[in-house]
């Protein structure tokens, strides 16, 4: 890492902020996808039953 113009000050809050954001992004998106998968599986199973009453017609 060369050609850095500034001098690092107390770094800890910035490192915590960056890695917390990283964890939130990586886990958050995967978690959202997982919840979506569960919901979609339920809906597909329900709608594929003939004349299912589980889902109202769109």
């Amino acid at each position: 890492m060369n050609n850095i113009t500034g001098i690092a000050t107390d770094a800890q809050p910035f490192i915590i902020m960056a890695y917390s954001l990283g964890a939130l992004a990586l886990l958050g998106y995967a978690h959202w996808c997982l919840l979506q998968r569960v919901k979609l599986r339920q809906l597909v199973a329900a709608v594929q039953q003939p004349h299912s009453a589980a889902i109202p017609p769109i």
Partner: protein, 230 residues
């Protein structure tokens, strides 16, 4: 309701997440302190792999777009849409972590530097792709329009890469791929390379996982339509 196939996919995701955590531990405990920047440089172990994953996503988006144009299939479009989402996620993460690093190092959260601006443009292009996908009805015209934009997005990546040499910028020049070899300590270099590989693999897993959701959504739509007709 989770199938056995979903479970296998989740196990793979969990393994990749464990590798990400392992890499972060290496970034904190294996890589030595940088003599110029001190501890704050450890943000680079998240920032640089995120940027590489964002760029790799745009390359994958271009590939899926070409496949979509050739095959005219909704499968390629689902993969391309998932890739654009994951690309946006990692581009925003790159900008955010770069901004957090910039505050103690440059003394500012943001500057309209060439590297930052072209990366911000990449985020906007990914947003544009997702808006275009959402705005058009399913069919050949959506596949074609999204494919053209998907290929165009990739054109921004070489501009981002060369921006630090084409223009006078605050952002540092390439530290890894440079004439005369990298100037980084081997421990730092290998931790960084490991992070790039792991985050790219995790990104690929996210793309696959999300694209299957998109396909399931299509199946649901088709099944609902069939049910309405019976």
């Amino acid at each position: 309701m989770i199938t056995a196939e979903d479970r296998r996919e989740l196990y793979l995701g969990a393994i990749l997440l464990a590798l990400v955590v392992g890499h972060w531990l290496a970034a904190f405990y294996y890589a030595p302190v940088d003599e110029h920047q001190g501890e704050v440089y450890r943000i680079m172990f998240l920032h640089v792999p995120s940027a590489i994953t964002a760029f790799a996503s745009s390359a994958a988006l271009a590939v899926f777009s070409v496949l979509g144009l050739k095959q005219r299939s909704e499968g390629s479009l689902a993969l391309a849409k998932a890739t654009a989402e994951v690309g946006l996620l990692f581009t925003v993460l790159t900008l955010a972590t770069g901004s957090i690093w910039g505050r103690p190092t440059w003394g500012t959260w943001w500057t309209w530097d060439a590297r930052l601006t072209t990366t911000f443009l990449l985020a906007l292009l990914y947003c544009g792709y997702l808006l275009l996908y959402a705005a058009m009805p399913a069919g050949p015209s959506r596949i074609r329009a999204c494919a053209v934009l998907g290929i165009l997005i990739f054109a921004d990546v070489p501009i981002i890469y060369k921006s630090v040499t084409w223009w006078r910028t605050l952002h540092q020049p390439p530290s890894m791929l440079r004439a005369g070899g990298s100037t980084m300590e081997p421990e730092i270099l290998w931790t960084l390379v490991l992070g790039m590989v792991i985050l790219c693999l995790y990104g690929a897993w996210l793309i696959r996982f999300r694209s299957r959701n998109i396909r399931l959504g299509d199946t649901l739509e088709a099944a609902s339509f069939d049910q309405l007709q019976t």
